[in-house]
Subunit: 245 residues, 2 copies
DNA sequence: CAGTGGTCTAGACCACTTC
DNA sequence: AAGTGGTCTAGACCACTGC
């Protein structure tokens, strides 16, 4: 391969073009989550560049958590099935510092017409079909999280309450194995709100208690939004933890 | 330079040792925030390694926001004086998506004996002297943020309310120029709380309104904690924004 | 022992900034 | 034109994994 750049386009290094091609393969499901991708030498041969150039491309994709390098074994497509990725997007942790063991209960799973707000976030047309899910997560019997989830019906056809409650692991692992959808990144908007009657009942707190409201949009390859979540956390004995660099 | 590793110690690559030496120079204020560090070739000569090895060391420090690379100009020590770093640790943004113009008012600045909680976070002894600061930040005349700040008195001697209110820029730029203290990273713990009478007065909200409570510990070089903040945000028209990767 | 990723080198050349 | 960081190459060798 050789450097190609349009006369007017700004300079784009070779390794960026390699990155784009690897990304295209991921997006096209040529390699699936958990799979090993070809070795650096193989890719170097395929793209007709040196190993060092492939290396730089893979390094950056690994830094974005799209790939995982394992010395001596190979380079793998990231998956939410792996230990390290299980709670990758969960920032809630007990004030004590221990780890949570959250128990999951899905309450409902219905197909509805999307509101304009949800449609906008999922880049659908208002009124398009979406699946609406409700669940509660508990620690030691005390409900901590009440969560609503919206999914585009097209991508998640046939999703049922029974299937969700039968699944033992994280929801994002469920999406991966049942709907070939891997979540790559997410954006959260956080506010403080007061518990209304419904929330108070679900979380067993008083009406008017302070709750953390977390609205998340999650994206798969190609910056495609495929899930909206609106969670409310009881933060009396736990907190949202964030590191700033 | 050549690879040195203790018989029992685990393998440590050359570029890690270079990183450690650059970090030591930063910590020792050999190069100050805003300064250019020596060129890659100079550093390669100084440490007797190849340019590529220095490169990898600098790359990782730049990824941690300790250094900033500028093609054609050099590599610089990161500073909160720079545009890009001004609001590096501020995650609050208007729901509308615009940018904030926050007006700053410091209310008090007093030297007190630290509580055991603050002492623990700052790694001081309970009762050691700390400076306690209160401030309000407003957008369009409406108070949005009430913030308490605690600083170890040893490092921040002579800090006065007048000096703070006279300073035009971000607080972290003030620390840099007046107390040779550059903040490198921070950790935040977020909860939802109810406004008491005092908070209601400062933020002009009703008693019992929901507020976002953000407790931050900020660190300088060498993972040394040097500031604790406890902020309360009115999130009725703005939110805490977070990206998850 | 072969295969993978990880480190290190030396050298050539490119892109950007400044004089 | 000189100096900086940025890209790319080719090759040697090291560390780790699994057969």
């Amino acid at each position: 391969m050789s450097l190609i750049s349009e006369p007017t386009a700004s300079f784009s290094p070779l390794y960026e073009q390699i990155k784009a091609m690897i990304l295209a393969s991921l997006q096209a499901s040529e390699w699936l989550p958990g799979d090993a991708i070809p070795s650096e030498m193989e890719l170097a041969a395929r793209y007709a560049v040196s190993q060092g150039t492939v290396r730089k491309a893979i390094d950056e994709l690994a830094a974005q958590n799209l790939l995982v390098r394992r010395q001596g074994k190979g380079t793998f497509v990231a998956t939410h099935q792996e230990e390290d990725f299980q709670y990758r997007f969960l920032r809630l942790e007990p004030d004590s510092g221990e780890r949570f063991h959250l128990k999951n209960q899905f309450l409902s799973c219905e197909c509805i017409k999307s509101s304009s707000h949800i449609a906008k976030l999922l880049k659908l047309k208002p009124g398009d079909a979406v699946i609406h899910i409700e669940r509660v997560q508990s620690s030691d019997g005390k409900p901590i999280v009440f969560e609503e989830i919206w999914l585009p019906e097209g991508r998640f056809q046939g999703l049922s309450l029974e299937a969700l409650n039968a699944w033992p692991g994280p929801v994002y692992a469920f999406y991966e194995s049942h709907y070939a959808t891997h979540m790559v990144r997410a954006e959260e908007k956080i506010k403080a709100v007061l518990a209304d009657e419904s929330l108070a009942r679900h979380l067993r707190v008083l009406v008017g208690a302070a709750l953390l409201s977390v609205e998340r949009v999650a994206f798969t390859y190609g910056n495609k939004p495929v899930e909206v979540r609106h969670a409310r956390y009881d933060t009396s004995k736990q907190h949202y933890d964030n590191k700033l660099n």
